[in-house]
Amino acid sequence: DARVTQTPRHKVTEMGQEVTMRCQPILGHNTVFWYRQTMMQGLELLAYFRNRAPLDDSGMPKDRFSAEMPDATLATLKIQPSEPRDSAVYFCASGLVPGTVTGELFFGEGSRLTVL
């Protein structure tokens, strides 16, 4: 059963600490998205990659956030230093775009981050 895997599922950290979230996309998918979800803002697009190349990271605060795809099986989102306002659920999604009839994205279960 192919699925997107995210780690950690939950993370509690103190302000100023570095946080790294990891995502394993579905094998064969060529596009990876990072979203942040809060009650106030909904699902915000942070960055996305196609064939491991970053296409758009305009949604990320550049001074503290960075996103990479060191290889086709791993995407990372790093926050350094973290702040309380970064508390949210971070979702990774992958898809085969173009190429599928539906164009759907497959989401992981999310990483819930709490910054104290």
Partner: protein
């Protein structure tokens, strides 16, 4: 700038009471409009893709329609298990950027 607006924010229905959710969008070059369902503590799950105005898709009690400016998700005779947040998203051509609306939280009471 691309924009997706969903209404209402929340909707409370009695079991069997049909209704519709709205998604208004502005996008430069629409490749597809998507509907997803999200249960608490889970990631969004795909429901439908619509590509062009006039298109309709159905799945069980759900039916999605698309015009040039908005999409509707019609729920016919809902059941309590239909309670979830329903998200609308648009994907643009030339880069495939996909942005989501804030969602509609649906509560169906038995």
């Amino acid at each position: 700038e691309d924009q997706v607006t969903q209404s209402p924010e929340a909707l409370r229905l009695q079991e069997g009471e049909s209704s519709s959710l709205n998604c208004s969008y502005t996008v430069s070059g629409l490749r597809g409009l998507f509907w997803y369902r999200q249960d608490p503590g889970k990631g969004p799950e795909f429901l439908f893709t619509l590509y062009s105005a006039g298109e309709e898709k159905e799945k069980e009690r759900l039916k999605a329609t698309l015009t040039k400016k908005e999409s509707f998700l019609h729920i016919t005779a809902p059941k309590p298990e239909d309670s979830a947040t329903y998200l609308c998203a648009v994907q643009r051509t030339g880069g495939f950027k996909t942005i989501f609306g804030a969602g509609t939280r649906l509560f169906v009471k038995a």
